[in-house]
Amino acid sequence: MARTPRQVGEEVWKTRVEKVNAELVTLTYGSVVAQLCKDFGNDYIQVNEQLDKMGYNIGIRLIEDFLARTNTSRCRTFKDTAEIISKVGFKIFLNITPTVGNWSQDNKQFSLIFDENPLADFVELPDDGKAVNELWYSNILCGVLRGALEMVQTQVEAQFINDVLRGHETTEMRVTLIRILEDEMPVGDD
């Protein structure tokens, strides 16, 4: 019985997910970002990269958890991928459903628009003039998507283009399909 991604997401969230206190997640993530900023001496570009790397490491493991919980079949198009990410993926891990929008002409790019971001509750970026222009606070999410999709043979690039913490109207992440990865033979294996 084929169900819409939205229904799959809701059902898995209600039944197969252990819940944890949201403030614990918010405060933990906040202290990770704050500590990174201190450790890199407020070099926010570096901090963004580190968050992306951390996210990548999370993503490559998270995809297994996701597939185990939801038993989703292979997506046929990139559009399907986008729907599953927003309605099922984000739903079961963060209980949010960002909207998918702004598809490019060739259907290889889309935006995820977050109208709530639990990682950034009560956060105010430091007042030093640099953070508000350079730091993408939730950049770990970009790494997570990149890592998770790479494990299912989809190479993407994900980056934030808007963030309410920076004063923009919405928080928006742009996801671009680079290529579908084919299984390759290891080098020197003949």
């Binding site: 405060l27 105010e124 970026l125 007042d127």
Partner: protein, 141 residues
């Protein structure tokens, strides 16, 4: 009727301060301290810090009410769970209203504390906080 609000940190350092006037009875919200008083406000408020620390052990509630007097000015105080002191310099007694003001201010302060980039005792420079405190002042005082 004018007010002077000061938030003092755990190391007796200044975290935030604000001068404002009453919005009641047609007041326009601008403080009307004389030039001398303007300079004296921080001094008066800080000199009552010792009294706050003494009084805090006498009660188990956070609102310490009026703890000091300076000529015709009263100083009310509220001590948070984290040992942060809110001090308000005012002219007329209004314990209940001031208590409600302090409670809402505490709520705002906790929200500021929640930000990972803000550490305890750091001065609060956010314009958003400033704006919200002014709205609270308008609402209660």
């Amino acid at each position: 009727m004018s007010f002077y609000l000061a938030i003092i940190g755990t190391k007796d350092n200044a975290v935030y301060d604000l001068e404002f006037g009453t919005y009641r009875q047609g007041g326009d919200g601008k403080p009307k301290f004389s030039a001398d008083m303007k300079q004296l406000c921080p001094f008066i408020v800080h000199s009552s810090l010792d009294i706050v620390e003494e009084m805090q052990w006498n009660t188990n509630v956070m609102h310490l009410k009026v703890i000091d007097k300076f000529y015709n000015y009263l100083i009310s105080s509220y001590m948070t769970a984290g040992n942060i002191k809110f001090l308000l310099l005012h002219e007329t007694r209004a314990d209940d209203v001031i208590r409600q003001f302090f409670v809402d201010l505490y709520d705002l302060y906790v929200k500021t504390l929640m930000s990972p980039f803000y550490s305890v005792d750091q001065p609060i420079t956010s314009a958003v906080f400033d704006q919200r405190v002014k709205m609270l002042a308008k609402k209660y005082l």
